[in-house]
């Protein structure tokens, strides 16, 4: 991935992050995700990424799991029921802000398969990696989306935004 982001894409991510207040997480990536950002907030207060890290720590997080019994993380609850029911419950909560999911690949695949994603922001990095994890492999039949906008950033990343 291209990690030397240009200013224009940083702004895109800030705007996207400010538009949400809840993060959905698959169980497998939860511990790494939360530990990473908590550590960041504690140890790198002067970093450029600090405001983002603080949002990741402060936002409500919902972990989707069949195996965990309780959450040991801050600002985190568990969702153990049917994925569609649980996500719709969160969507109906009274908040002016939206919900975001960053991964992992398996969890996002399930969300897509169950038609639960309302907006895709796909970051296309200028690198062909040959093989890897896909989020669309569980789609059974052709899925048409509507292009909302496409933005090319100075660092070579293109973000395509689609809606169902």
């Amino acid at each position: 991935m291209t990690w030397n982001w240009s200013e224009d894409i940083k702004k895109y991510v800030v705007d996207l992050t400010n538009s949400v207040d809840t993060i959905l997480l698959g169980r497998k990536m939860t511990d790494g995700f939360i530990t990473h950002w908590e550590d960041f907030v504690k140890n790198k207060p002067n970093s450029e990424e600090y405001p983002f890290a603080k949002q990741m720590v402060d936002y409500d997080k919902v972990v989707f799991t069949k195996t965990l019994d309780k959450s040991n993380w801050e600002n985190t609850t568990l969702a153990k029921g049917d994925i569609t029911d649980e996500v719709n419950k969160i969507k109906k909560q009274n908040s002016k802000k939206d919900i975001v999911v960053y991964g992992g690949a398996g969890f996002v695949s399930s969300l897509i398969k169950n038609n639960l994603i309302d907006e895709y922001n796909l970051f296309i990095n200028p690198t062909a990696i040959g093989k890897g994890l896909e989020i669309f492999k569980d789609v059974d039949s052709k899925l048409s989306l509507n292009l909302i906008k496409s933005t090319a950033f100075d660092c070579g990343i293109v973000v395509n935004q689609y809606q169902p």
Partner: protein
């Protein structure tokens, strides 16, 4: 050295074909959006590189379109038929089509030889070469780092599975974004340059 360019239709999850006998029904055929770019690319080249498997259908198809002056892609067919076509094959002994030659040697060497030959002088510079497919032929060209410029029409559709031109890469392949254009039809044109030109 003249450039080898690639133009392909792609799904938003990166596939270029649903598999053998793909009729590209998943492609958004918004000719009004993309035709100028497609013709512009063809006007920048004088040679088409093509794998044998695709050539067998492709060449007769465009020859047939040329007999239909009202066809919406008549201008494209004119250019395709007029261009020199190099067919890469291990099995054919001679070409049965007009304006075609066979390349039967090592792929990388044949391509490098073609690149070092001067193309026609065009107002825009030296004429390059283009390849449109098929999937496995393009995958081999990419793996060998032989494509200099990549033009993808990214369609607003998820295929879930299919054929990829990047699946045989053994290492990461870094590209440089040259331009991105979003069209009203939902197609996004992505133009990349190879950063590892050989």
């Amino acid at each position: 050295m003249r450039k080898l360019k690639l133009q392909m239709q792609m799904s938003l999850d990166g596939f270029v074909s649903t598999g053998p006998n793909d009729e590209q029904k998943w492609v958004t055929w918004a000719l009004g959006d993309i035709y100028q770019h497609v013709l512009g690319l063809l006007d920048s080249i004088d040679t088409i590189i093509i794998g044998r498997k695709l050539a067998i259908d492709y060449i007769p198809f465009w020859q047939d379109v040329l007999t239909q002056p009202d066809h919406e892609m008549y201008g494209f067919a004119q250019r395709i038929v007029a261009a020199k076509k190099i067919i890469f094959t291990k099995t054919l002994d001679k070409s049965i089509w007009d304006n075609t030659e066979l390349a039967k040697g090592d792929m990388a060497e044949e391509i490098k030889k073609l690149k070092s030959q001067g193309g026609k002088n065009l107002p825009t510079g030296q004429a390059g070469m283009i390849v449109y497919g098929g999937t496995s032929f393009v995958a081999s060209l990419i793996k060998e780092g032989l494509i200099d410029e990549l033009h993808f029409f990214v369609n607003p559709v998820v295929l879930g599975k299919g054929e990829s031109i990047f699946s045989s890469l053994e290492e990461f392949h870094y590209l440089k974004l040259k331009k991105a254009v979003a069209y009203n039809s939902g197609i996004v044109l992505l133009i990349y340059e190879n950063n590892q030109r050989k």
